[in-house]
């Protein structure tokens, strides 16, 4: 029996995996996409299909997240719109990189290798951040939410025309805005990710938008990246709508539960598990690459179990802490919006 062009096993797998990815997205505000492309590569989908489908999934999740953030947070739509050209050009460059590598038969190898490094780097950052949180938990310092970092003030002081006025009244160079959009667009188009883990810091540190608006605007940027990327890969007919629909059906539910869990679970309790999961995901992709090089299908199975198992473990940890907090604290917790790609 086939549903959405997928066998029943694959359908359940994608809905389940989407659910876990959604929980991470809702809880941590990221992880929505950089687990999907590796999973599809491990399952044996060609790199253009994995990346194109992931971009369409990014679009869907970003639409949902932006709708949530529109009501409870701030989105600088003007800045997002100004980044559009850079994003579109960047994604095209990234996509042509993938298609060129695919023509050489090297796309899976190169994209997989970049993912190994990317997941390991983000994993190390999360683990380090979790360990530092433990050490500095007593050191509480107040900061102004509208403040911007020194590096952003320095970049803004250069006044390279054309300058544009942002929604908060500050000015930024169109070159910086286009550069940020284009740079993140290349990464998005090449890896099939929303790129929020780069775009949000770039908007904050390079363009100088206050943190809350940077998060919301980054989400809007992910929406545009996903739309442009899905359209661009869609022109080549490599987006698998069945996979996208199954993943979205799971992730939309998971994101609600993950987002609700932030009201009960202290993020610092779980951050280290997320970091370790990303490190394991990096190893899983490496096993997937080795399986191709050494022609050992068993490594593909190990890789798959590692990726899915570590994701399931972190999901269970979040639910466990959430259930424990609900039992201990009742309904005293307050709700906070989640949200970056």
């Amino acid at each position: 029996m086939e549903v959405l062009g997928l066998g029943l096993e694959l359908l359940v797998l994608f809905v389940g995996f989407g659910f876990m990815v959604g929980v991470f997205f809702g809880f941590f505000g990221m992880g929505g996409s950089f687990l999907v492309t590796p999973a599809l590569l491990i399952l044996g989908y060609p790199a253009p299909v994995a990346i194109g489908s992931s971009m369409a999934f990014v679009f869907g999740t970003a639409v949902i997240a932006t709708m949530k953030h529109h009501d409870v947070g701030s989105v600088d739509y003007k800045l997002g719109a100004l980044m559009f050209v850079g994003i579109a050009v960047g994604i095209e460059i990234g996509k042509y990189g993938v298609l060129a590598l695919d023509a050489l038969g090297q796309a899976e190898l190169v994209v997989g290798s970049v993912y190994i490094l990317l997941l390991a780097a983000i994993g190390v950052l999360f683990v380090r951040s979790a360990l530092q949180q433990d050490e500095e938990s007593d050191d509480e310092s107040e900061s102004d939410p509208d403040d911007i970092p020194e590096i952003a003030k320095t970049i803004k002081s250069y006044n390279i025309p054309p300058m544009v006025t942002l929604t908060d009244g500050s000015k930024a160079s169109m070159w910086t805005i286009t550069g940020v959009g284009g740079g993140v667009g290349v990464v998005s188009g090449f890896l099939g990710v929303g790129g929020g883990f780069i775009r949000m810091p770039a908007i904050y540190y390079l363009i100088g938008v206050p943190l809350a608006a940077a998060v919301g605007t980054s989400l809007f940027g992910a929406l545009m990246s996903g739309a442009v990327g899905a359209f661009s890969y869609g022109l080549d007919g490599v987006v698998n709508l069945g996979i996208v629909t199954a993943l979205l059906a799971g992730s939309a539910l998971g994101a609600r539960i993950g987002s609700a869990s932030t009201a009960y679970v202290d993020e610092s309790d779980v951050t280290i598990y997320f970091g370790i999961m990303l490190l394991l995901a990096s190893i899983a992709v490496a096993f997937g690459e080795l399986a191709s090089w050494l022609s050992m299908p068993i490594l593909d199975t190990v890789s798959f179990v590692l990726l899915l198992g570590s994701s399931a473990f972190v999901t269970v940890v979040i639910f466990y802490y959430g259930a424990q907090a609900i039992r201990e604290n009742g309904r005293t917790a307050t709700v906070s919006p989640g949200g970056n790609d």
Partner: protein, 49 residues
């Protein structure tokens, strides 16, 4: 019935975006309604376990 495969590539790509957008909005609304109905009961059940 329209044969989607016969349509130009850019139309197919635009339909793809439209379908994903419609799915996202429907899922957001559907799960939102479900959450409103079921969330209090689920939280109450967890509190009592």
């Amino acid at each position: 019935m329209i044969d989607v495969i016969a349509l130009p590539d850019y139309v197919q790509a635009a339909i793809l975006i439209g379908v994903v957008l419609a799915e996202a909005v429907a899922l957001y609304a559907g799960y939102g309604a479900l959450e409103d109905v079921l969330a209090p009961a689920i939280i109450e059940t967890i509190e009592q376990v």
